[in-house]
Symmetry: C3
Subunit: 261 residues, 3 copies
C-alpha cells in the first residue's frame, strides 16, 4: 500500500539510527515512500523540532504520516502518541514535539501508543523511534486504525509558542525563534500584527535599525526585513548571513518601530 512517511529527528546523519528506522518500516510496508524532513534538529531541542515539523507538514499531500523523534525522555514514563487530523497523522513522543503542528492542524483523535502488538518484539529502552514508533507508523500506513494503538487521550502536552508583545508607545517586541541554514533570523512576528500602511517602519535588532519591509531578499543591500516563506518576518542579509553579521541567536529581541513623524 503506497503512502508517505516523513522523518523529523535529532538523530544526525552519521550513525545507523535513521537508516535502522527506515529498515524497520520497509520490513512492515515495503511500498512506503520515505521522506527526510530533517535529521538535524539540534540534539534534544524539542522546540526547534516542533517548528520544523509544523513548517513542513502543510506542504505534504493528505494522508501523509509524519514521524517525529526528539526524545530525551526515551525509556521513562513519558507517553508515545499518534494524532490523526483531517489532513495527516503525526506520531512521536508526548513532549510537545508534535504540538505546533497540532495547533495549526487540530486532531480528530489522539491516542497513547500502548498496544505492543505493533511494536518490535522486546523494544530497547533507548531507541523507541526504531522499536516502537517506526513499526507503528508502518502499520498505520497499511491501514491499521488509530484506535487499535491504544486509548484515546485529550491531555497531550502542548508547548506555548512565544508571542510578540505590543506596547503602549506603539512599538511591538518580538523575538528570534529560529535561525535557518542561511543565517536568516526567523522571528515570531507575523505581517498582519504590524500596523497597516505605516508612514515608515523599522526593526531594531542587536542595536541596528533595519528600515522598511522588503518584498524579497535581493530588493535591498545589507540587512533587510522580509516576510519569510513560512509567513513570519525574517531579518536577512542580502547575499550574506544575518546571524553572523549581527551575532544574534535564538531569543534575540526584535523591536518593531512605527515612525509617525
Amino acid at each position: 500500500m503506497n503512502s508517505i512517511i516523513t522523518f523529523t529527528t535529532d538523530f544526525g546523519q552519521r550513525d545507523a539510527y535513521a537508516g535502522a528506522m527506515k529498515g524497520v518500516i520497509l520490513g512492515v510496508n515495503p511500498l512506503t515512500t520515505l521522506i527526510d524532513i530533517t535529521h538535524d534538529v539540534p540534539p534534544q531541542d524539542i522546540t526547534a523540532g516542533a517548528m520544523i515539523l509544523a513548517d513542513a507538514a502543510p506542504y505534504f499531500p493528505p494522508g501523509t504520516l509524519h514521524l517525529a523523534v526528539v526524545d530525551p525522555g526515551v525509556g521513562s514514563d513519558r507517553r508515545l502518541i499518534a494524532a490523526r487530523t483531517s489532513r495527516a497523522v503525526y506520531i512521536g513522543p508526548d513532549n510537545g514535539l508534535l504540538s505546533y503542528a497540532l495547533v495549526q492542524d487540530p486532531p480528530e483523535i489522539v491516542v497513547s501508543i500502548t498496544e505492543k502488538r505493533y511494536w518490535t518484539p522486546r523494544p530497547s529502552s533507548t531507541f523507541h523511534g526504531r522499536d516502537i514508533l517506526a513499526p507503528v507508523a508502518a502499520h498505520l500506513s497499511l491501514g491499521t486504525p488509530m484506535e487499535a494503538l491504544g486509548p484515546a487521550i485529550n491531555d497531550w502536552i502542548t508547548m506555548e509558542a512565544s508571542q510578540p508583545v505590543a506596547h503602549s508607545d506603539g512599538t511591538i517586541t518580538g523575538e528570534v525563534v529560529r535561525i535557518d541554514h542561511f543565517g536568516n533570523l526567523i522571528t515570531n512576528l507575523r505581517p498582519e500584527q504590524l500596523p497597516a500602511n505605516p508612514p515608515a517602519l523599522s526593526f531594531e535588532v542587536s542595536g541596528v535599525l533595519v528600515n522598511r519591509l522588503s518584498r524579497y531578499y535581493a530588493e535591498a543591500d545589507g540587512l533587510l526585513a522580509v516576510i519569510g516563506s513560512s509567513g513570519y518576518i525574517e531579518i536577512a542579509m542580502a547575499g550574506g548571513n544575518a546571524a553572523l553579521t549581527l551575532k544574534a541567536g535564538v531569543g534575540q529581541k526584535v523591536v518593531v518601530i512605527t515612525h509617525t513623524d
Copy 2:
C-alpha cells in the same frame, strides 16, 4: 506516472525547505522517485551548484528531471526556466545555475516559466523553489509539455567556465575550481590538454611540486595528481586532505610543468 526528479540546492538539511518542496511534488505526482544530489551547495554559490549539477546529471537515466535551486535573486525579475535536452529536463532560476549542464547537454528547447496554472496558488516571493519550480517539475513529470509552461527563449544566462592558459614556455596555468568533501583540489585541467607522453610532468601548487600523474589515489604517498572521477586533474593527498595540507582554496593556481631535459 513513474519518473525521477533530482534536487541540487543550497537549502541545507536542517530546515523544512527541502522537505516542503518534496511534499509539494508528491501532492502533484505521488509516484515520483525523488533523489537528492545535494542540498549543501554553499549558500548563494551559483558556480558551485552549476558544477555539481553538471557532474551528476550525466549518470541519470534518460527522461530524468533535474530541479536546481540556488536563487539569491528569488522574487526579483530574474526569470525561472526549464530546458529540455535529448536526455533530460533541467529546471531552475535563469542565473547561470543550469548553464554548465546545458553546455554539455545542449537543449532542444528552453522556456521561461510564466504560466501560473502549474504554480502553487499565491506563491511567496521568497521561496519559488517550493511554490513554482516544485509544482512545475511535478507537472512535467506527469507529461505536461514544455510549451505549456511559457514562451520559448534563447537568451538564457550562460556562465563562462574558467579555462587553463597555455604559455609560450610550455607551461600551462590552470586553477582549482572546486574542493570536494575529501579535500581533493579539483582543477579545470583536462588530461587531453596536457602534452602527450612528456619525459616528465609536474604540477606546482602553493609552492609545492607534485610529480607525475598517478593512476589512482593509493599509487603514491603524500600529495599526488590524478584524473578525478569527473575527468579533471585533481591534486589529492593519499589518506589525507590536500586542501588542509596545502591550505589551498578555490582559485588557487596550478601550473603544469613539462620537463624536457
Copy 3:
C-alpha cells in the same frame, strides 16, 4: 523489480558522488528503493564504516542489498566483493568494510567481482563505487546470480573487532569504539560480559567514576552508563554531550569496577 539498496559511504553530501551512484543504479533498475544509511563515515575510516553498516543492516528486510564504499585503495589491486547471506547481500571493497556485518550475518557465498559485463563501460580508476559497484548492485537487484559476477573466494579480509579484557582483580577494561552524533561514547562492552547482579558497579572513564548501569538516558543526571540501542554499554550525558564533557575520543579506556564491599 522492486528491491532495496542501502548506501554506507564516506562520500559526504556536498558533491555529486552519491547522486551519481544513484543515477547509475536507477538507469539499470528504475524500481529500486534507495536508502541512505550514511554518507558521513569519516573519510577513509574503514572501521567506522564497518560498525555503522553492521549496526543498521539487521533492521532491513530479507533480500536487502547493502552497498558500502569506504575505499582508499580504489584503483589499486584490492578486490571488490559481493557476499550473500541468508538475509542480505553486501557489496563493497575487500578491505574489511563488510567484515563486521559478515561476522554477525555469515555469508553463504562471497565472490570477487571480476566480470566486466555488469560494469559501466570504461570504468574510471578513481570511482569504482559509481562505475562498478553501483551497476553490479543494480544487476543483482534484478536477479543476476552472484556466481555471474566472478569467482567464489573464501579469503576476504576480516578486521578484528576490539574486545574487552578481564583482569584478575575483577575489573574489566573496555574501550570507546565510536562516538555518535549525540556525543555518546559507545564502548565494546556488552552487558552479558559484566558480572551478574553485582552489589555495586561503576565505570571509570577519563578519571571520572560513573556509578551503576541506568536503564535509560533520563534516569540519571549528568554522566551515566546505559545499554545503547545496538546492545553495547554507552557512557552518555543526560541532556548533554558526554564526548565534549569528558574530552574523550575513540580508543579511550573504560574500566568496569565491581564493588564487593
